[in-house]
Amino acid sequence: MTKALIITIFGVIIPAIGVICSLWKGKKPINYIFLAISLALYYGALFNVKYLYLFSPRFNYIIAPLIYFYGFDLPGLAKFIRNRMAQIVLLLVIYVTVVFFIFLAMPGDYTTKFLDPKLMKNPEMYERMKHLFGVDDPWYVKYYKHMKNFFNLEMGVSFSEYPRAVEDIIAERLPRTLFLFLASSILSFLLGFDLGKRIAWKRGGLADKTATLVGIVFWTIFTPFYMLIIIWLFSVTLKWFPLSGFITPSKWFDAPFSAQNVFVKLLWTELFLLISWLIGITISGQLKTIKSKKTAIWSSVIAGAAISVLYWATNGMGSYALDIIYHLALPVLSLVTLGFAGDMLVMRDTMLEVIREDYITTARAKGLPDNVIRDKHAARTALLPLMTSFVIGLASTVSGGVITETMFSWKGMGLTLLDATTAQDTPLAIGCLVFTGILVLFAHLVADILYAILDPRIRY
């Protein structure tokens, strides 16, 4: 890609679209004012005009479109998203500040742990190190650097893995975490959803009582202990699954690529499968008969799976991916068994409420088969609250899996955050927190949008 092309696209075409839209749609002078401001910010960032920076060039790119859209009276959802984006930016600034001061208030700093008697032979060395990490700066200088980094979408340099950039470390740990937690969250969501709707439908029965009891037992069990039992049972005694870690070392000695590559590709595959499933659901939403709906979902899932299998069979990483999936089995098993109960109980409760609704009686009176009433009428409406909690939960699992990561030696974001905090590697810890914060805020946005899509009554 040549530079000229990039400049044409970003320098001419995108702003031109903006201008044309403004001229065409905009009726009020305010449109043109906002257009002018956003154009100025945009070009300021694009051509490095320092006087036009709002904190940093990258921040300009974020703010410019927001300001641009503030010139319009947007319809419903678009307006909601725009306002929410502005809120997110504001919330992030507050959040990042709060996180910073929490870390500032902690006693000691990263260099405290280098209170090694050897250092004292050379006091300058200790000072040099303090200076290197900037821990001897006064708080306002630290805060300034911190915010400057944040507005520039940078997270600084890790202390404990000096001089690696925080983004770099997060990029290394994130795929593993996402892959594991996405897989287990989706599975436990599906399991919880399905079981929840079934036991609510046959409420009061033996299945309901058993599932609720088992669910609550798993929900309240002491996680590390449970995971140890799982490991002991499946790896030590039965030897079905590997004990820990995510790869078998001897298999990877001669691999011409790193596990990270495979992980990233696996993650994309996972997302691809998820998307093909969602496409199936979307298509089936347009179809009328149960049979055609089922066919649509299954054929799109199977097609997705077939493409994935074909891809992995031909890219030469297939056997390595299988190794990872083999290692994935136990953590997923324990996460799903631990996690489905929450979804199941939420689903059960909502279902019980929905079942009392009049339209369920209508559906029954219409002569619909029992499972159609359950799945299409009751579960579909009961899905809404569950979906919201799922999406938001998904974002927080990114940082919340410390125990799983420890027990299964699956080092990811959770452990990174924990280690960084205990070692007082402030940039890395703040980086992890900010990253999680952004993710949670966006998850909320996605949840809201999903809600609007799933529930036609909601209008923003």
């Binding site: 280098f114 209170l115 050379n122 000096y162 593993r176 080092k411």
Partner: protein
Amino acid sequence: MKKAVFLFLLTFAIAVFAVQVNYGIFEDITTTNVWNLLGSGSTSYNFAVQLWKYPSLFGMNKEGQIIPAAATDIPPIVKEGNMYTVTVKLRRDMRWSNGAPFTADDVVFTYNTIQGMQIPGGNWSGVYEPAKIEKIDTWTVKFYFKEKKTMTIYYDSLMAAIVCSNYWKPIVDKAKKQPDPVKWLLAQEVIDPGITSLNIGKIEKSAFVQIVKAVPNDKYWQYGEKQIYYKNGGFTITNPKTGFKWSTTDPKPAGAVDLEVVNGPFVDTIVYKIFGNKQVAIQALLTGDIDYIFNPVGITAGEAEQLKGQKNIKVVSNPQLGFRFLAFNMRKFPMNIKEFRQALAALIDRDFICNQVLQGRAIPLATPIPPANSFWYNSSVKTVGEGLSLGERYALAISLLKKAGFKWDTEPVIDTKDAKNPVKTVGKGLKGPDGKLVPTLTLMSPGMDYDPMRAQTAMYIEQWAKNIGMPINLKLTDFNEISTKVFDEVDFDMFILGWGIPRVPTYFKDFWHSSQMAPEGFNVPGYANPEFDALIDEFEYADNFDQARKAIIEAQQILADDLPYIILFTNPMVEAYRTTIQFPFDNVLDGIQGYYGLPENVKRVQ
């Protein structure tokens, strides 16, 4: 196609017949860059998998004796004008794993690069000591020092890791052209040649680090080199391949051989598998997934209990290099009064704490050198009130306080004959010799979650002291808060912490020499005793190791009397490995982990 099948079979065969041992570790290595490795972010695990691959001029044998490593002998320090010099002759038979010979250029390059670029990190500090490093010829290097700090020179400056100049020179030259040379250099993630045959192979972050053989055994200079320990204390290094030989002169090796350590490597691959959890690692050890758990703090007593008696598992316990202590702020009343400190020391029954309270998980210690460090240890140092019963300890403490002129509003009454409950009247209102009321003193100790041993000990100390009216209040405090209060603000009464220590007691100076006062230095008690200072200086500038030893032995006696620290106990280093592997020795101060699992000596046995 046939070729592919053949190649596959070949790789398969190698994979099957290659000798592999597996070690379990608990953290990722953060870098393979040697400059960074010894820098700020260094972790024990970074060292475990790679520090052994770099040569140094001198080393230490299993007994803690200084021995030549890349040098041919231990040369003396010579005064030349206003400088002190050490002229080190290098071994001529050493080769880097990339084939380059080890020469004076490597030594000079390493020291000059660190000094020139000001590479940070505590572990490089010794390298900053020499004022000048001079290459005399290909195999001779001369070091110039401003001061005759004998111990620092031998044990620190000349024991620093040396890197392969042949490999690093172009990279360092390039770094010097960067806007931030140090940052750029530290960011270079490369695997450089080592002096050993084993070197890092494949690294999978958070999963494993593979160590592979970089040089075939028949081409490896150190293969078959022997270190022989004689029963009479003598020691020799012999290399049958290159003919290199070195022996101790006092005593001369003679008589029966105690131990013979042969250099390998005897394995083709070592895999350091990363575990997130110790329990899981123990399961992995039990199932044979790994052969040895490498952990700088060993395994806990409970874990050892779990492993003892298991098939194919050997549990070894060694003394640790470190001690836990209670420190006084001697700048403040009443901690500035020696008898007050002695009285508290008299109350602390180490045997009771270690054997009853901590159930044998700690070893009582009287002096800041563990007995296993026999060269430096003073066996005659006794703690205050050693061997006394609880009642007698109370009585001794009270008499010590009275001797210094302390008085009580309510004087404690002790019945030394009552073994169970000797305190008949609890002391109240302790006043100093000048009649000043002793204020409430805060004893800071890390909490139960950080270190239950220290927290429990502190609770007992608090109670004992209160019984005779010493107003000590225990405050379980976050480690970081203690360290800020103690090292930065120097605002405390007493605290309990621990130090990990090197084998050579160079730390005596850092902790108690009057020139090292906190907050600039680590003399946090504010201890200043000219007699002690003189002994430490004598140790530091000694002409020979015997003189140094005598000074340290005497210094230990003074410390035990003055008590800036009350030394409490040390821990055993408990480790476990499968009997499917064999180490040349496993009874050594600080355990096998102190030798990073002896990568070039470990053997797989069937």
